[in-house]
C-alpha cells in the first residue's frame, strides 16, 4: 500500500538549532498516526513543516506527489489540513462564518457540509451566531475541528487537541478522531496526552530532541518500557500490558 503522506529526512532549523532532525514518517490512507513526545521535542515544529508553515529540508510527498515546495494554501488544496495548537480561529467572526470559510476552497458549493457539521457538532449549531472568541475552550476545539473538516481534508493533522481541555471533552475529541478514520480521513495526531492518543491511534512515533527515537504500532508502544516510563506512568503500564496481552 502506498502511503498517503510520506516524509523523509525532514529537518527544520531555527537559526543554528535543529528543532527537527532527519525525521521520517508515513501515514497510510485511513490510518490514525500519533506523534508523542515531551515539551520541546519538536512535535509542533514537525507538523508546521509538513504543512508548509515553516521552511524545511527533506522530501515530503502527499498521495505520491512532492509537496515540499508548495505554499500552505497549495497544500490545503491538495487535501492536507492542520489544526494548530492555538486553533487560529477567526475570533471576531461568527461560528457560522468560521465554518463557511473552512470550505473556502470549494467556493459556494458548501451548503451540505455545513449542515453535516452541525449534525456532527450540535453544540456549534446552538452557537452559530455567536462570535468564535466568546466560545469556551472545548467549543473552540470543536469549532476548529469542524472548520478544518469543512475543507474535506484527506489528511487532518491535529496539534495537541486535548491541551487545556477537561477529561470529558478530551474523550469527545478522541471519539471524533476515531470517527474520522471511519469516514476514511487519515489523521496525524500530535499529543502530550499519550494514553489517550495511543488508545485511538494505529501507529505511533516517539520524538525526542527533534529525532524519532521509537516507532511502532500503538499496542507495541503502549507496552514498551521506555514509553511507559516516560509518558504513561506505572499504573498505565499495568493496564497497558494487560490490554496488550488481551489483544
Amino acid at each position: 500500500m502506498s502511503a498517503l503522506l510520506d516524509a523523509s529526512g525532514v529537518t527544520v532549523c531555527y537559526g543554528k538549532i535543529e528543532a527537527v532532525r532527519d525525521v521520517g514518517l508515513r501515514v497510510e490512507p485511513g490510518q490514525v498516526v500519533t506523534v508523542l513526545g515531551a515539551n520541546g521535542a519538536g512535535k509542533t515544529t514537525l507538523l508546521s513543516a509538513l504543512m508548509g508553515v515553516l521552511p524545511a529540508r527533506g522530501a515530503v510527498t502527499f498521495d505520491g506527489r512532492p509537496i515540499g515546495r508548495l505554499s500552505i494554501e497549495a497544500r490545503v488544496g491538495a487535501g492536507l489540513g492542520l489544526i494548530p495548537e492555538r486553533r487560529e480561529l477567526f475570533s471576531t467572526m461568527t461560528v457560522e462564518d468560521n465554518l463557511r470559510l473552512g470550505a473556502f476552497r470549494f467556493g459556494r458549493r458548501e451548503r451540505g457540509s455545513l449542515d453535516g457539521m452541525f449534525a456532527l457538532f450540535p453544540r456549534l449549531k446552538e452557537r452559530r451566531r455567536q462570535l468564535a472568541g466568546t466560545l469556551s475552550g472545548g467549543e473552540r476545539q470543536m469549532l476548529a475541528m469542524a472548520r478544518a473538516l469543512m475543507g474535506r481534508p484527506r489528511l487532518l493533522m491535529l496539534d495537541e487537541p486535548s491541551l487545556g481541555l477537561a477529561p470529558l471533552i478530551v474523550a469527545e475529541v478522541m471519539r471524533t478522531v476515531a470517527s474520522l478514520r471511519d469516514q476514511g480521513v487519515s489523521v496525524l495526531l500530535v499529543e502530550q496526552n499519550a494514553r489517550a492518543a495511543l488508545r485511538v491511534a494505529d501507529y505511533g512515533y516517539v520524538l525526542d530532541g527533534g529525532a524519532v527515537v521509537l516507532e511502532g504500532p500503538s499496542r507495541v508502544l503502549e507496552a514498551d518500557a521506555r514509553v511507559v516510563e516516560t509518558y504513561l506512568g506505572v499504573l498505565a503500564a499495568e493496564t497497558g500490558a494487560q490490554e496488550a496481552r488481551a489483544g
Binding site: 504543512m51 508553515v53 515546495r69 508548495l70 505554499s71 500552505i72 494554501e73 497549495a74 490545503v76 488544496g77 489540513g81 492542520l82 494548530p84 486553533r87 487560529e88 480561529l89 477567526f90 475570533s91 471576531t92 467572526m93 462564518d97 463557511r100 470559510l101 473552512g102 473556502f104 476552497r105 467556493g107 459556494r108 472548520r147 478544518a148 475543507g151
Partner: protein, 399 residues
C-alpha cells in the same frame, strides 16, 4: 440664502489643493490673510473677496459644518481603504493619494480630448506584475495558472487600452469616468504584485518603507504622464439646491451619495460575500486564513484593487472642486490617514466618523486660522496617539 452662497460647499477642497501646492507654486495666500476673515480666494466666484472680519454666526457655522462634512466624505473614502489595506496586508498605503490624483487627472485628460498617459503606465505595470507573478509562482505553475496570470496581467490591461482607442476623442463624462476607473483599479493589484508581494513576510516597517518608495515613484510618474499643470473636470451636476440658509450643490450631493454607496457596498461585501469574509478572515488571523486555503497574495491583490478603485473614485469626485496636480493626492491621502489613525487603523466606522471630524476641523481651522490649517489638522492626531498609547497594552509581538 442671501447669507453667502459663494462659500457654498461647491468648492470645499479648493483651499486644500491650493495649500498643498503652496510652497512650490509661489502663492502666499494663507499666510497673507489675517485670521477671522472670510476668505474666498480660491473659490473663484465673481463676488468681492474682501470682507470685514465678523463673528461666527449660525449660518457660517452651518456652512463650515457642511463644508467639513463634504470634505470629510472624501477623507472617509480614503480612510476606509487605508484601514482595509492595512488590516489585510499590514501595508500603510501611502500611494493611495496617487490613485486619487491618477483618477482625477485621467478623467481630466479624457475631458480634454487626449489619451491619458496612465494607459501606458497600466500596460507597463501589468507586464511587470506578470513577471513578478511568474517569479512568485515558479514552483507551482501549470498551464491553467499561467493562463489566469496572463489574462489578468496582460490581456486585461490590453483590453482596457484598446477600449480607450475605440472610444471617440471626447468620450463624454460617464464613459470617461468608467474608463478612468477601469484604468486605475487594476493598478492596485499590479502594484501589490510588483512591490509588496515579494515582501510578504517583511515587518510593518519594511512595508512602510516600500510604501514611501511607491509613493515617490508614482508621484514622479504622475509628473511624467500629466505634466506640472493642474486640471479640473466639470462637475457631475450643476444643480444648486437651496436648503434653508445654505445652498447645496449637486456635486456635493453626488459626493455624499457615492460615499454612502461605497460604504454600503463595502458593508455588503464583508457581511454577505464569501470572498469579503475571506479578506476579513485574513485581517483577523492570517495563519488561520492560510490554513483555510485563503492565499495572502489573493487577499492583498483584492484589497489593493478595492483601494485603487476607491482612490480613483475619490479623485473623480474631487476633481470638479479643485485643481488637481500630479502631487495633490498626497495631502488628501494624509488627511485620510489621520482619520484612519484616529480609528486605530482597525475600525471602519471609527475611521469614517473620524474622517468627518477631520473634515470639520479642517473647515473650522481654515476659517479661523487659515495659515495653520494643515498644522491644526495634523496635530489632531497627537492627543489621539497619546490616549491610545496610555490606554493600550504593550505591543504583542506576534508575526
Amino acid at each position: 440664502m442671501t447669507g453667502a452662497p459663494w462659500i457654498s460647499v461647491a468648492l470645499p477642497l479648493s483651499r486644500l489643493a491650493a495649500l498643498a501646492t503652496l510652497p512650490r507654486r509661489g502663492g502666499k495666500v494663507g499666510a497673507a490673510v489675517p485670521s477671522k476673515t472670510i476668505r474666498t480666494r480660491h473659490s473663484a466666484p465673481p463676488e468681492p473677496t474682501s470682507r470685514t472680519p465678523r463673528p461666527v454666526d449660525s449660518t457660517i457655522l452651518l456652512l463650515l459644518v457642511q463644508d467639513g462634512v463634504v470634505n470629510g466624505a472624501i477623507y472617509a473614502l480614503i480612510a476606509l481603504s487605508l484601514v482595509l489595506v492595512f488590516t489585510v496586508t499590514r501595508v500603510i498605503l501611502i500611494p493611495q493619494g496617487e490613485f486619487v490624483a491618477y483618477g482625477a487627472l485621467t478623467l481630466a485628460a479624457f475631458e480634454a480630448g487626449h489619451r491619458p498617459g496612465t494607459v501606458g503606465l497600466l500596460l507597463a505595470l501589468g507586464a511587470a506584475a506578470f513577471v513578478a507573478d511568474l517569479a512568485a509562482g515558479r514552483h507551482t505553475l501549470d498551464a491553467r495558472s499561467l493562463g489566469a496570470i496572463a489574462l489578468r496581467d496582460l490581456v486585461l490591461p490590453a483590453a482596457i487600452a484598446g477600449a480607450t482607442l475605440v472610444v471617440p476623442e471626447k468620450p463624454g463624462l460617464l464613459v470617461g469616468i468608467l474608463l478612468t476607473l477601469a484604468i486605475v483599479t487594476p493598478m492596485g493589484a499590479y502594484l501589490h504584485a510588483v512591490a509588496y508581494r515579494p515582501l510578504e513576510h517583511a515587518s510593518v516597517l519594511v512595508l512602510l518603507v516600500a510604501s514611501v518608495g511607491c509613493h515617490l515613484a508614482l508621484t514622479g510618474l504622475g509628473l511624467v504622464f500629466f505634466g506640472a499643470e493642474g486640471s479640473r473636470t466639470p462637475p457631475l451636476s450643476d444643480a444648486m439646491i437651496p436648503a434653508g440658509p445654505l445652498v447645496v450643490s449637486g456635486q456635493s450631493l453626488w459626493m455624499l451619495a457615492l460615499t454612502a454607496a461605497i460604504i454600503l457596498g463595502l458593508w455588503t461585501f464583508f457581511g454577505l460575500t464569501l470572498i469579503g469574509k475571506a479578506l476579513m478572515a485574513t485581517a483577523v488571523n492570517r495563519l488561520g486564513a492560510r490554513l483555510m486555503g485563503i492565499a495572502p497574495s489573493m487577499a492583498g491583490r483584492l484589497s489593493f484593487s478595492v483601494a485603487a478603485f476607491i482612490g480613483a473614485l475619490s479623485g473623480i469626485l474631487v476633481a470638479p472642486l479643485t485643481t488637481i496636480y500630479y502631487d495633490t493626492g498626497f495631502l488628501i491621502g494624509l488627511k485620510g490617514f489621520v482619520a484612519a489613525i484616529i480609528g486605530g487603523l482597525a475600525s471602519y466606522p471609527g475611521a469614517a466618523l473620524a474622517a468627518v471630524l477631520v473634515g470639520i476641523i479642517e473647515a473650522f481651522s481654515s476659517f479661523h486660522a487659515s495659515a495653520f490649517k494643515e498644522v491644526i489638522v495634523f496635530m489632531a492626531i497627537i492627543p489621539v496617539l497619546l490616549w491610545r498609547s496610555l490606554r493600550s497594552h504593550p505591543v504583542e509581538d506576534d508575526e
